[in-house]
Assembly symmetry: C2
Homo-oligomer: 465 residues x 2
């Protein structure tokens, strides 16, 4: 039953609204949505200001028309899929850098600004925004805020929410609010800012964000380490973190991930578990590198090579392209329910071992890579979607890995968000009472379930959320 979206014509200019099939198709899912799960919105709109966002939401909310915010579409969990149709609100035209205040290490941006664009805007001041994901050059700040994204440098610098100082957002009924402060710290009232961050557009649409920035380090060194076994590599990484070693990036690629990267990116990675490293410091970077090398030595590292100059750039590009490389590796096989579970670092080697063992039991490739220093595993079970048995095995393995991560005190999603894909784990991870409290907040801020319905909350619980 399509929603009547003709009200958009009264709210926005003609070129800001489309009911056309092409536009509806291109907003029917995100990067991670399988063909069969796509849902076309009834209309797409492109607000160009906070006032536009407010007007559309107020009108849609009055008419019981769902609105699902959409940005670059680089999400993995169906976060931006318009599950109940209605309006897909595309924020990519709100892409202005509004103000840079280098004297306060701050920048104000609209949500459609790409992560790379933001960093370009502050580079001349010797500043950068550290927590951005691998997809920063094609993903928007708004999307990163929506999922509380993080990335390769999170191990040293934290997640997106750690760097958001202030947000302007529009609630479901069109009310514009401002949360947080431009002060570095505040204890003033409820921290609504950090509820909005990571709420995946279900509580409000962010229309402006103020970020704190970091000074670029005076010393940066990259390198890689090669291990004989995956277990050695995972254990060495855990030991490095437990020693308090100050790494800016510590990424694991298992053996099959190095093959997949080579096949796609034309690199020549060793056919062995490999750790990518980056160190940031203002002083004494060599001492930190040596501390890491010693720990890796104790865990049987075979090669520990620090790069000179830009040698690592090609490898980082290959790492960044891994998500696409997975699709191209062994067609028609593709990842079944990929994930980004995260566990306390002491549990990390066991979790990696568990995922790999499940793969061996089912004779399926389960490439594991990711932001290892955070205890974050990106696992992907490669299956032929046309082979029901493989597909089922892929789902089973994925479920088992998430369940094990939760048992270990970890989380079903370290950075991609819940979207549609991880809803079924919410009760197991948080408990009924906690999910009820989340639901209460959703209902009080968005009583009509206007904003991005069908996400985060377990599917069967309440058809309206």
């Amino acid at each position: 039953m399509p929603h009547d979206c003709t009200f958009l014509a009264d709210t926005l200019d003609e070129e800001q609204v489309s009911l056309g099939d092409d536009d509806r198709d291109s907003h029917a899912g995100d990067w991670g949505t399988p063909e069969e799960d796509r849902v076309r919105p009834d209309a797409v709109c492109w607000p160009e200001s906070t006032a536009d966002v407010s007007a559309v939401l107020a009108a849609a909310n009055d008419r019981d028309v769902p609105v699902t915010p959409y940005a670059a579409g680089t999400g993995i969990e169906g976060n931006a899929l318009p599950a109940r149709g209605g309006v897909s609100m595309d924020l990519t035209r709100m892409d202005r850098v509004l103000d840079v205040r280098p004297e306060d290490f701050q920048i104000d941006v609209e949500p459609g600004v790409l992560g790379g664009t933001l960093n370009d805007a502050v580079a001349e001041h010797g500043l950068f925004l550290p927590p951005l994901p691998q997809s920063a050059d094609i993903s928007t700040i708004g999307g990163m805020i929506a999922t509380d994204a993080s990335g390769a440098k999170t191990v040293k610098y934290g997640e997106v929410h750690d760097w958001v100082l202030e947000l302007e957002a529009v609630l479901a009924d069109g009310t514009v609010i401002e949360t947080g402060s431009k002060a570095k710290k505040t204890s003033s009232g409820y921290n609504l800012k950090d509820v909005l961050v990571g709420s995946e557009g279900t509580l409000g649409v962010v229309t402006r964000a103020t970020f704190e920035l970091e000074r670029q380090p005076e010393q940066i060194r990259g390198g890689r380490a090669v291990f004989a076994t995956l277990d050695d590599a995972a254990t060495a990484i855990a030991a490095t973190m437990q020693a308090g070693c100050d790494v800016a990036t510590i990424e694991l690629l298992d053996q099959v991930s190095t093959k997949i990267a080579d096949a796609y990116s034309g690199t020549d990675l060793p056919d062995a578990p490999t750790v990518f490293l980056e160190f940031h410091a203002n002083h004494g970077i060599d001492a930190e590198i040596e501390a890491c090398r010693e720990i890796f030595d104790e865990h049987g590292v075979e090669r520990f090579e620090m790069a000179a100059g830009t040698e690592m750039d090609e490898l980082w590009a290959a790492r960044r392209d891994l998500a696409n490389a997975l699709l191209a590796y062994d067609p028609p096989r593709r990842p079944a329910k990929p994930g980004d579970v995260t566990v306390p670092i002491s549990q990390y080697p066991d979790l990696v071992r568990y995922a790999k063992t499940l793969g061996e039991e089912h004779v399926l490739d389960v490439p594991c890579f990711g932001h290892a220093g955070d205890g974050n595993v990106h696992y992907n079970v490669l299956v032929d979607p046309n082979d029901p048995e493989e597909l089922e095995a892929g789902r089973e393995i994925s479920d088992a890995v998430v369940e094990r991560a939760i048992e270990m005190g970890g989380t079903s999603t370290g950075e991609h968000g819940v979207g549609r894909g991880k809803r079924s784990y919410m009760i197991a991870e948080h408990g009924e009472g906690t999910v009820d409290a989340m639901r209460a907040i959703k209902r009080t801020l968005d009583p009509n379930a206007t904003l991005n319905p069908g996400k985060i909350f377990p599917a069967a619980d309440d058809e309206r959320l």
Copy 2:
């Protein structure tokens, strides 16, 4: 109209409940509550477990009896004052360190554990919890979570909420929830953890907290710098932060604050604006100190002295005792509406100048000190509470400083919380719509306004909150 609290006898053991005058008196306010503002609770109870907290809240909520959590009573804004009587719930008997996991840099504690006790428990592992306030040795972790406290090392390490991984909390109706994750990062559902942190016991009572810890730095150096004028000192501090200098602590004491410290602590501070410094590093600490010294030189520093060994300990103790020293300095004068406004660092010199100028205009001492690197000013207008004119001038100056801080993009409270003292600034700081959204969350999670009523929200708005 007193509340009938006899239900407590059915809920807890005899030695966990008191209706006695002494106990009620000792829970009638906090450190910052003037005599005339104190409110005695009808009863005091001491839960010893999560189950106790849950049972008391469920019973009180059923009976419309307010419950105000109480810890060490070291708050400054009346945060723990039982504004509508009822039960003062004293958490100090829940003071167990539950688990230390050095392999994950984590500790689980009950809310009544003192900050100093926590740090003692992890010191043997070479770890510490960095964001604690000056009062850490006499304040509880639960109180620090309630206000999202911060302290002298926040400039490098962040606030309390940055270090809380997971919280167990009891909601107003007795429901026990768990929020956050033991994973270093998560994007799973709404961030209820960071709504509870800083909510001053108005949304739930925290019964267990998991903190992330930091490795103790290999190098620590303390020192002090003396300036001819306050403006030089404030400008030098701002310039140091703007240069990205890696200080672990950078505290300002204006001239009158050094006098007050000397009078109380018997120290021999220079009769001049003084900056206390601490540097933390694993390598190259001297280079960082030199970078700071150069900037201070450019801003006319008169003396820049780094301490050897424990020379700074006495000075830090004097800094820690400043709050008590203010009371003893010029009796019967005492601070009128003290504050902890915080602004972007570029505004910091102007804010300090503004506060001092107002003091000069009214011929009143306005000692200013605090966590300068965060843009945080602790201002105190010293007035004779029996002199209506001075008292009024003190309130005027305090109001003007807060209003100016908000105009500068800052916050009415950087670390003490809103409590009763800063409620009147909430609309000016956040706007009506944002305060409405906070109120909606309060009403949905605590519909009977059982938990710590009369705090955070503007007084006249809703007698029930």
